[in-house]
Homo-oligomer: 481 residues x 2
Amino acid sequence: MAKNNDRFVNQIADINSDYTQWYTDVCIKSELCDYGPVKGTMVFRPYGYAIWERIQAEADKRFKAHGVENAYFPMLIPQSFLMREAEHVEGFAPEVATVTHVGNNELSEKLVLRPTSETIIGNLYSKWISSYRDLPLKLNQWANVVRWEKTTRPFLRTSEFLWQEGHTAFATAEEANADALEMLDVYKEIANDVLALPVFCGRKSEKEKFAGAVATYGMEAMMKDGKSLQSGTTHYLGDNFAKAFDVKFLDKDGTHKYAYQASWGISTRLIGAIIMAHGDERGLCLPPVVAPVQAVIIPIGAAKNEQVSLRAKDLYCALERAGVRVKTDDRDSSPGFKFNHWELRGVPVRIELGARDIEAGVATLCRRDTGEKFTAPLDGLEERINTLLSDIALNMFKKADEFARAHIVRVSDMDEMSAALDGGNFCDAYWCEDRACEDSIKQKFAATSRVMHADQSDVHEHTCVCCGKKAKRRIYFARAY
Amino acid sequence: MAKNNDRFVNQIADINSDYTQWYTDVCIKSELCDYGPVKGTMVFRPYGYAIWERIQAEADKRFKAHGVENAYFPMLIPQSFLMREAEHVEGFAPEVATVTHVGNNELSEKLVLRPTSETIIGNLYSKWISSYRDLPLKLNQWANVVRWEKTTRPFLRTSEFLWQEGHTAFATAEEANADALEMLDVYKEIANDVLALPVFCGRKSEKEKFAGAVATYGMEAMMKDGKSLQSGTTHYLGDNFAKAFDVKFLDKDGTHKYAYQASWGISTRLIGAIIMAHGDERGLCLPPVVAPVQAVIIPIGAAKNEQVSLRAKDLYCALERAGVRVKTDDRDSSPGFKFNHWELRGVPVRIELGARDIEAGVATLCRRDTGEKFTAPLDGLEERINTLLSDIALNMFKKADEFARAHIVRVSDMDEMSAALDGGNFCDAYWCEDRACEDSIKQKFAATSRVMHADQSDVHEHTCVCCGKKAKRRIYFARAY
């Protein structure tokens, strides 16, 4: 009875036949998150939030090394602020939540919940920046933002989400644009080294850029269904917001100039990327750097053999001392149930410890990424585990990278694009840079331009995948989350 | 010209003649914070936010050691949730901000911005808790909350503030009440060891308790004007919220029971406590554990002597390696300006390094807490600084503790209470426990009951400070922020 129930608890949809249901099952059943009472909201349960804490710590130290300081700006923004930058308001107004009342009293000015903070930060930068000596100014905040979306999915698209938003100001356009590009590199490093995630980085099309930016640069990750997940963006804002909020400084040459700005953000969406890029038929597969539990010890037959629980305790202490995030599962359940439980939760290494292992002076290890099972001497196991965790991170990146490379198809016309997209691929295409072609591709295939290819050298030898006119850009098209 | 301007930048009101203006000056001129564009909101500037980051880190590790896990719940709560607990809605409704629209569309149910999260967490605990095996459940979130206040002051009372809120559920009333008391001890440890702040801890009166709690325990700190700042509270909620949100579990005995809950919070208000309890006529005085900069090196005459800047760089590296948060001020300003600048910002140790110091193999140190100036050998200075930082923390606690002890007056009637309050003291009083007496004291003296005294042993020998009837409680009365 209990067993059947247990099995049900760990049961998830088949990843190959129903990726969408598989995703929801993994989110809920591994206890990463739950649904909030208001439609479109979610709760970060401890296991999911712990992943976010690791991402935050890894990102935060890299931002600080980059000369960025943390600050915190009010969530409530006067509605009039949004109106000041024409494209910005057009982009965000439909999904902005508005506070009209406090208690029984109507507010004299409506306030919006920040969908992003360029406007309120522009207001303060105009107070703080008066001389070239005040530049560059590089601030970041870790915050919640609200964007009301019609269709929502845990981590990927929820009405409230958690993110960081960096906002920087410089004396020159070149510096601001360089900052947007440098932060894209920082994001790429986080994706690769922290999340074991290969990414496609480059400039976005005019259509896909941030509302109010001069240029948006994106980091896209390929999910296992060949769809793209926008996983981070950086924006070169020019002096658009500086003009809207009067962010001016007295330059060395004695003249007043507008500052040039950039902004950049990554969010809890990255947890969605981890789930969909690394997960498999058994559930989550977590990159060791962000895994809340890196190794789980499962004592086998401890109830009948005191030696087993004693040695399990010793091992736990040794691993903890070696800096491994370790847990012992000494619940009163079958080993098989426990194996499923921790596989579903994506713990990188399982350590089985039974009487026979102890006699032989070994433990039985099982890698979550490959499923390989092997024994290793108990003596010095902590170093072995640390090495294994590094190997797993590298292998996870390699696997995801091979998958991505195998799912890029060069396409030269719409038929090829159609087939490539239906086959679960990214399309490596040439494009005339006209919005009409992007619109046509979106309408026909529900695909969008993602980011421009790093190599634009042969673009003039090609024609647009859609209209056949002379190409101006090599760019990725894909279906996207 | 520049110098006069510099002096103005560092100028603050006299702490003895205008404590209120002094507080505002310190907040703004030390760049801890700024005002937001919406009345009652504030911006945490990097220097202020860095203090909060340290408080967070110190608190978070203590919570985790206590078996608490972090999670994150939605900020938007259905208005109907607030209504379910009668006292809760009465307490919070007037100051709750309400979201009515998204874009141009009116929402079908109004949503409130969390003033605290007992209700939404109650809703989820009813999903997650079904068996005694699910208990205890101990979660915490770091979050922003919104409470619309009429009179606001930076850090002390703003319409949005940052805090942590712990929410725990247990099988028995005893465990839940014990949790509220244990967390009060954790808060006291944070106040003492992290903020160098002596505190008064105890149960609050019925009048002063949290809306919806059975009992509230408070941690109060004495500011330099003898007023109290409520610096943390923990609540035993009984089964009030469990009944409102149907948080039930199947107990070992096979019967369904309501869970018993506790909640507890500290906020960015603690930064206000640091400012007002430790600050002096020169500005901030930061406890070393939370100081973003623990030691500032000021090279003297570096422009004329290369040795000075070289040795300053060596010293910077040595201190950083030794784990000291150090900064070198090599700006092109006078030493006097720099001294004022860093004193205003409360940096615990100033290290002056000039040609004569270097010749003598020493540096000149100045303690922010005492103003003492003395030389110390450059050789091994990093250990000396670390010892000094510990000394400063202890001395700051001792000074604040002596101040608090010297400003507690035992009062036995209303005249004594009046005099004690006007003299800037806490009143150690006996009270009949009737609400009418609290109301009377508030009306006459603008003072409130703060927390019950730790020693209630002789309460029956005394009479109420207000009505003269038999006393039931020994309790502190004070004016409060």
